[in-house]
Amino acid sequence: MKTHQEIINLLEDALELDTNSLTMDSVLADIPEYDSMAKLSIIVLSDEEFEKKLSGEQMRAFATVGDIVRFFAAG
């Protein structure tokens, strides 16, 4: 089970951002790197790291980094 911070670090890696550049409150719409390729990268991350199928509809429902983290952290 990964901690919230570990999941944030995975997201930073997927978005090619520096470590500690994201927080739970970071708004996805305000992150320039959160583009279509980043979304695809997160969908792949979801499948490979968390074995969770993440649909485009679910992706669109995420507003903050915390939303994604909580989705991954939920059992």
Binding site: L15, E16, A38, L40, V44
Partner: protein, 220 residues
């Protein structure tokens, strides 16, 4: 944009074919009645451009991301002798829907044939007396990416799209390798080289500016 050139008596014609099902490009290389393609993202568009009286001899795949290969099975059915060339990793990606990323889209793509070959180091001659197409590994966007060059044309796939930062966020992507590949691609360019990218318009190398290489000249 259509471009053609004549090489040592054999006429080479290069046409860009934008995919309708994505933003990717394919290119049709024609020498007489024989054709080859760069990438196979949209079978319908490729088959229309090959036409009823020409044969598609082979396809040179820059990298196996779904938008560049999703027409492969339909094209293979239409041209059973067509050979698909690429790197070792690309050929693996043709049969692995997670590696080619189609698994995460509506229609997973898994190449069901066996007519594929690792692109040879010494290149492939187009026809008996046609020009030689060569390739060089340009990892970064994908570890097995190949940039092909033929006469004055360079087919960069997604390893270099003028003015657009290279996407290295996807599986096997690597920013450092991408920078090295961009520098390598620059060495392939002469004044009259025509850059044929995997997305966007073709561009003459003499028209390139520093901002066409945003990964090498990042604004501060």
């Amino acid at each position: 944009m259509q471009q053609s050139a004549t090489l040592s008596g054999s006429s080479l014609r290069v046409d860009q074919i934008p995919c309708v099902n994505s933003t990717a490009n394919m290119y049709l290389l024609a020498v007489g009645s024989l054709c080859w393609a760069i990438d196979v993202g949209d079978a319908n568009e490729l088959l229309i451009n090959v036409g009823p009286n020409r044969n598609l001899e082979g396809v040179f795949i820059t990298h196996p991301h779904y938008d560049h290969i999703q027409g492969i099975n339909d094209v293979a059915r239409s041209f059973p002798n067509c050979c698909f060339y690429g790197s070792t990793q690309t050929l693996t990606g043709l049969k692995d829907s997670k590696l080619n990323l189609s698994f995460y889209h509506e229609n997973p793509v898994v190449y069901s044939g066996d007519s594929c070959k690792i692109f040879p180091e010494n290149g492939v001659q187009l026809g008996l007396s046609g020009p030689l197409i060569k390739g060089v590994p340009t990892p970064g966007h994908f570890e097995g990416s190949i940039t092909y060059w033929l006469s004055s044309y360079v087919f960069t796939g997604d390893s270099f799209i003028p003015g657009i930062p290279v996407v290295t966020k996807l599986k096997t992507g690597n920013r450092q390798e991408s920078r090295s590949s961009l520098n390598l691609i620059r060495t392939l360019l002469s004044k009259n080289t025509i850059i044929c990218p995997g997305h966007g318009p073709m561009k003459l190398s003499e028209e390139l500016e520093d901002f066409d290489f945003p990964d090498l000249y990042e604004s501060t």
